[in-house]
Symmetry: C3
Subunit: 136 residues, 3 copies
Amino acid sequence: MSDKTAITPATHTTPPAKFSHGVRKGNILQVAGQVGFKPAVEGEAPTPVGPTLREQTLQTFANVKAILEEGGASWDDVMMMRVYLTDVAHFAEMNEIYNAYFEAEGLKEAPAARTTVYVGLPPGLLIEIDALAVLG
Amino acid sequence: MSDKTAITPATHTTPPAKFSHGVRKGNILQVAGQVGFKPAVEGEAPTPVGPTLREQTLQTFANVKAILEEGGASWDDVMMMRVYLTDVAHFAEMNEIYNAYFEAEGLKEAPAARTTVYVGLPPGLLIEIDALAVLG
Amino acid sequence: MSDKTAITPATHTTPPAKFSHGVRKGNILQVAGQVGFKPAVEGEAPTPVGPTLREQTLQTFANVKAILEEGGASWDDVMMMRVYLTDVAHFAEMNEIYNAYFEAEGLKEAPAARTTVYVGLPPGLLIEIDALAVLG
């Protein structure tokens, strides 16, 4: 019997409903869909870090990473990343940002699998990412 | 070697292709995408419980829960819920229904992670949800 | 401690960014989103096998299967398939192709769970599929 633990980094905005930014149970860690919201400020509504794909993608990576670390994991443990974009025209730029980010992170092991699809997101948001990690 | 077992509650409509409403193998239980179809009636095509988001969301939760229970799990075991809506304008109402439902269910442990995106669904359907659970 | 291993069949086109077509860690194997690209030809850009849903669906299945096999798994180990279509009108035909394919594959055990949603995909692509497998 392993405990299920909610992962809620202090920097993260309060979820808009009763779910967790991340959950860990045994060696499985699931990161909820993250967007480019900047760190939470008490009394302020969640706000995207900026209007551009670059700003939002980098902030989204930071938000995913914070949840992984709070749950005792790292990028190396990630098995799957789901990338939701709003515009097919953003694919090439997202890949450039993605590659530069993970190179800078010094990711040594085999990268995760990934699926990218194009969906609707709330107004002002250009990217959402969730992730499944297996630890140990 | 653990057996993979299909989970097919008697109340559920027959899937439109050779897949299962749920599958369990070892301590992992995957719930297929559920929609607001009312319990199956022999000889009748699958029919949504009603046209409103509230009706369909509550029936979808009931359909997910039946699969969890048939597979020996409960909401407490759910790690991730993927919510597919057709309209960004439905987000706030879905969250209200979601919160009230899980409060009524008396969910005690840390809630699951969640991702919500906006996609196309077959005509008449406003919401689809799938879930990943880890037991034990 | 189990190693995370990237799965990259020789027949597959190079991913458009630093991710893997599949990843295995312990008994979990994640297949990245596959589309109907024909086997890689050095110096040529990834090309869909044909314009029709049938051609692309069968090639996508072949691409998923190659990753499963390279990772030591088979269709019997698949827990979940996520099917992304671009057009609700393709659902019935995809199900026919899906059923005929898995009948021909001689799938004996309980089939996987499945979620199908309708999203945007890059121009020329009609279907994308990813899969989660649990081995052993």
